[in-house]
């Protein structure tokens, strides 16, 4: 394994990651089936996909905390030159929280109700930084709270999580995940349970923190608006596989994969729209327990041809850093929506 230098271009490379769940009676749900992507240093990658597409499972696999009965069946996760799937558990525990940290979706349940905020923040610091003193930990905690826009930190520390609103708790959680200056932050649907202004506040705090510390972020969401406004490059997942990935502007303007096109067309817009109805994608997402033959989007795809139903498309390069897993990529432009009005 080549020893890459610190300023290696990609901080994280995921190659052919496979995570399966055996759900009894021999049935295996292939939640993540061969996912490939890489993340450049201090850049933001947005993973978008509907529920059941395997995006959360991908994030848990990177941190190696897949819930039972899931297991990582194959592939490599190269993080700063080191394959995370091969190192022992003790080493992995040092990386979690110190090098990579995870933000959960529901702030109301991700805090220990019996511990004060101070105990939460200090515990992470003291667990990883052996020999650090309590006052040092407290100083760092106040520093991090300041960074996410909480100025009355001292008064906050004494209180319990149940005394704060959901938005405030999510802010403290972000601060907690930045306390050891990790290199990678994974945010799994950080704002789904919050309202519009709270969501904007949290995303603003995340941007601030990213600008100040140069940390690279993977944000996972099903909200197209949030991910297109926040990230540098996008990565669309469907039924456990990557269907398209490219820099943000390229994907939003000229998507190639029929599923991405369908998604973008079915997102309601703030601006005036000609026809009242949205062009929705017919049918329902596939049942992950059954074996997927051919392209898993073929049953719902309007461009599907005979080849699509037989063999699974590979991820092909269709543009500058633009990859698409489709036999017949569509060249479509958001501006002239009429092209497909047909």
């Amino acid at each position: 394994m080549k020893e890459s230098s610190k300023h290696n271009e990609n901080i994280l490379e995921v190659r052919d990651l496979k995570t399966y769940f055996n759900v009894g009676e021999g049935k295996v749900v292939k939640a993540v089936e061969g996912v490939n992507f890489s993340l450049k240093r201090s850049k933001i990658l947005g993973i978008i996909g509907e529920s059941g597409s395997g995006k959360s499972v991908t994030s848990r696999s990177i941190m190696r905390i897949v819930d039972q009965p899931g297991y990582i069946a194959g592939g490599e996760i190269i993080f700063e030159g080191q394959n995370l799937l091969e190192i022992p558990e003790r080493e992995m525990e040092k990386i979690r929280g110190q090098k990579i940290s995870l933000i959960f979706q529901n702030p109301t349940t991700s805090f220990n109700p019996f511990m004060t905020m101070e105990q939460h923040l200090k515990e992470v610091y003291l667990t990883h930084k052996k020999g650090a003193t309590k006052s040092e930990a407290r100083k760092r905690a106040l520093e991090v709270l300041e960074m996410v826009g909480i100025h009355n930190g001292a008064e906050i520390l004494k209180k319990y999580p149940c005394e704060f609103s959901a938005g405030f708790r999510q802010r403290v959680f972000i601060a907690m995940s930045m306390i050891l200056e990790p290199d990678l932050l994974i945010a799994d649907e950080p704002t789904t349970s919050l309202g519009i202004t709270l969501q904007a506040e949290i995303m603003e705090a995340l941007c601030e923190a990213q600008r100040k510390t140069g940390i690279s972020i993977i944000i996972i969401t099903h909200d197209f608006g949030v991910v297109s406004q926040f990230s540098d490059s996008l990565f669309v997942m469907y039924a456990g596989k990557c269907v398209e990935s490219s820099p943000k502007k390229d994907l939003l303007l000229k998507p190639k994969h029929p599923y991405t096109i369908g998604l973008i067309r079915s997102v309601p817009l703030l601006e005036e729209r000609k026809s009242k109805r949205l062009k929705s994608i017919p049918g329902f997402p596939p049942n992950m327990a059954e074996e997927q033959i051919g392209c898993s989007f073929s049953p719902r795809c309007e461009f599907a041809r005979e080849k699509c139903f037989k063999d699974t498309p590979e991820l092909k390069k269709v543009g500058e850093e633009h990859f698409c897993a489709c036999h017949y990529p569509v060249d479509y432009n958001v501006e002239d929506d009429t092209k497909l009005e047909g």
């Binding site: 826009g149 405030f168 603003e204 406004q229 079915s266 309601p268 703030l270 109805r277 949205l278």
Partner: protein, 326 residues
Amino acid sequence: MEENNIIISCNNVKKYYPIRDGIFNRIKDWKHIVDGLSFKLEQGKTLALVGESGCGKSVLLRLILGLENVTEGEIYFKGKSVYDLSEMQRLTMKSEIGMIFQDTLAALHPRMSIMESLKEPLLLNGMKDRKQMEKVIIDTLECVGMAPDFLNRYPHQLSGGQLQRIAIARALIIDPQVILADEPISALDVSLQAQVINMLIDLQESRNLSILLVAHDLAVVRQIASDIMIMYLGTIVESGKSSDIYKNAKHPYTKVLLKAAPSISKGINNEPFHLDLKVGDTPNPENPPKGCSFCTKCMEATERCLLERPEPKEVSPRHFVSCLYV
């Protein structure tokens, strides 16, 4: 705007919850959940109530449905006040309102199969013979795009999208004139959302339904609603036709909402997330500000805003804004 095609109208509706304390639970203070609300819903139109959690929009629906009593003000259904209806009239009113709840799984009885849940509204409306009931149920399922083979399954065995359609079917099965929907789409994925939005629009046109929709996603509201009301902390800050609201929003809170709402076009031209709101927690309903409800968070708030409660001013036809500086 003749009087008779107004389905539901409220004037100056208030709802306070008591805060009890002390050994004998004496009422210490009042929580202003809905603080003086007036609006009209016309036949065949869709009115959207937009606001963030805690602004009292779901409570307003419960008041209209009679699940809770109003502390002050009246609610009229087809011109007659809801509270002095006779028993018979109340029953007929109930058969004309359909309700779609936010948490579709919790709105269906966990141990009743889908068939039984759909039969309940028909039984309660006096339909007796089984054949007819089954026919009505299957027709309604058709128009929400569901095959009848789900009928003897239990709610927890269905996916989010399917539950949503069953909830809409149950609301439609008694052929109501008004549909009240509490965030029917926010829990769904993007592709399913589009399917449900299209369905609601088709149903509205085919059955001349009027829909009172509660939502917090401005883009979805733009798609469905003809009239919009923006709520903040139990009061209406701005109301009007959807084109007026989106094109020239006047109230600071509406502007903040429009700016904060994420969208693909903002993504394309790289607009950052930026909120011009005062930092700090939103005021809680326990001690609402005396003056304008938005004064503690509004950037342009002045001394006057803190004391004087603004009245809705008509800025343009049917476009009302409650702000002192408009």
